[in-house]
Symmetry: C2
Subunit: 353 residues, 2 copies
């Protein structure tokens, strides 16, 4: 978890100047000088006075200057303080919330819902939208189907509570007839319904241990098959939208940086790991620049929030963009999108029936 910046003793005025400086920098993208800051702060201070204050802020590591004759730019530490204590997030416009809600309701398929969420995030922020797929292991069992293929192979089709269809080809240790497979599926469909896949694995394991002799060899081998099905590899995934948006930001224009960023997107693994860390967090979670500890994201910030069905965290959604982003509006957007997605999923998956 990200440690909140420990309270720094800053005069009211210094805080205000830092806030204005960061806001201005986020808006313009240029280092902010004392003259501009003095004009914008509305405090009737001369540039010279502002310089004194800013010099203190620099000493504290909240701002730096790219070179002697440039203005100041916030550091990660500065952004952190800004976000934690200076930022005034305004709630999302009602009309926009409404629009989001309608977009979500236009989708039937839960998978489409996730894509829509990602698309919305990227198009509204002009940055990258990301939504992780629900972790299979956390999902509840809904239906299973065995389809015999040639050479003793079996195509297993597993439907989880989120209506997602997973499939995999396995090679059971002993051959089954088509009828046997059918029977096995029926058996499992009755007995496993509604259980979570993780629990299921445990349960099957126990059952195989304990009732070793009491149950028929056939059932035993079916259970073994079922168990092998649940051992999914780590093929979890996420939806990423608007990658190319990042090419518009001058701070990421460097070829090497951009390249490593795009490679990170293709690689998925590390990024997914990072996102997984956010799943248990309450509310909006933010990694600023190097805070993520992931080198390709060095110049980027990640704003996330988990989405949930029936209060179980299903996955994470968020926005990736340059450190210099409009947190003021991104944070509420991510917040609301996650809430609406959760709500929509709840409606689709847990209908009043």
């Amino acid at each position: 978890m990200i440690s909140r910046s420990q309270p720094i003793e800053l005069t009211e005025r210094a805080q205000h100047l830092l806030k204005v400086l960061i806001e201005r920098y986020i808006e313009e993208g240029q280092p902010v000088g004392s003259r501009t800051l003095a004009r914008n702060a509305g405090l009737n201070l001369s540039p010279a006075t502002v310089r004194n204050v800013i010099a203190d802020l620099e000493e504290m590591g909240l701002v730096t200057s790219p070179h002697t004759s440039a203005g100041r730019v916030p550091t990660v530490k500065g952004y952190r303080l800004f976000i934690d204590s200076l930022l005034s997030v305004k709630p999302l416009e009602q009309a926009l919330t409404q629009k989001l809600w309608e977009d979500f309701n236009a989708q039937e398929d839960p998978q489409e819902l996730l894509k829509t969420a990602s698309r919305l995030l990227s198009s509204l922020t002009h940055m990258v939208g990301v939504v992780t797929l629900p972790k299979r292991q956390q999902l509840a069992f809904r239906h299973i189907e065995f389809l015999p293929l040639s050479q003793g192979q079996v195509l297993v089709i597993l439907v989880t509570e989120d209506r997602e269809v997973h499939n995999r080809i396995i090679r059971p240790s002993r051959p089954f007839t088509s009828a046997q497979l059918q029977q096995a599926a029926n058996y499992l469909n009755v007995h496993l319904k509604g259980k979570r896949l993780t629990e299921l694995r445990m349960a099957l394991f126990d059952e195989l241990q304990q009732t070793g002799e009491q149950i028929s060899a056939e059932i035993k081998s079916v259970l073994e098959m079922a168990k092998s099905v649940l051992e999914f590899g780590p093929e979890e995934d996420f939806v990423l939208t608007g990658r190319t948006n990042l090419m518009d930001f001058s701070e990421l224009a460097d070829h090497e940086r951009l390249r490593s960023l795009f490679e990170a997107f293709e690689e998925k693994r590390n990024l997914l790991h990072l996102l997984d860390q956010c799943i248990e967090a309450e509310g909006v979670q933010i990694f600023i620049g190097e805070e993520s500890g992931y080198q390709p994201l060095e110049q980027c910030s990640l704003v996330t929030r988990s989405y949930a069905v029936e209060n179980r965290a299903f996955g994470v959604l968020g926005v990736i963009g340059p450190t210099r982003m409009h947190y003021e509006s991104v944070i509420p957007l991510v917040d609301v999108t996650a809430k609406l997605l959760s709500h929509a999923l709840n409606q689709k998956l847990m209908p009043p029936s």
Copy 2:
């Protein structure tokens, strides 16, 4: 289809010089001047003579010069002539072919096979590998399953001959009980097995028309449901690997160009359309630069070949890279990869059984 360049009357010598020029340019990436060319052609000609010949080639539109004091660079027309008549493709190394074959055989899942193909293409060429998924419509029916959801919705799971599992949520016009759905699936599984999806749509349509009164209302509505299932949207797809490789090429380093290229990759639609054009072509198909007619690929070439199962073209695979690519080795690689993939798919999907 790409029109082969009509035979141009070129002296032996001019052809040879063009060939050397292009080879050299592909190798070095720098415009080739008369001095270098004279040295490399092995013809014992003076630069001045070479200049005369090259001037002719320029007049014919086979080469241009970026500016007065630079050497010459091949044009699309030049590349075309080079590939069609000057290029001597050497067969792939035996060892490499062997390695490819082993990589393919390590995969069970057909879908993984396609990914592997794409990965191999991109990693061996340091460019982008692309493999289209088999066109659903062309595939044969294997199995169908109806799973009742809430609110009268039905999750349809369709397995095609390539063992791919397609799913979709539909809302039938009349409600079905669980047992009815089971029965319907059984019926369809028996009657539709092995038929192609396109044919199937036609057949179902006909059946619904003709035997309007003879069949029971229930069967009729099942058929209607089946038909609606087959009306897949145009969600065809492809696997793309190694996008970031393109960032290494100086000729694509321009930000705008790169951006539009990556957008094209995200958009998929137009690129897919282009790839579809290649599916019926015999052997390796090449689009050089603007030949593709797709603006983002202006500076790129596309080398493709279709892959097939039982002599039915299933999909297309290929490589996307800068126009200035090493055709000499890319062409045989794409050729062999397609053949091996076809072969591997045949083995997996059409086992001797």
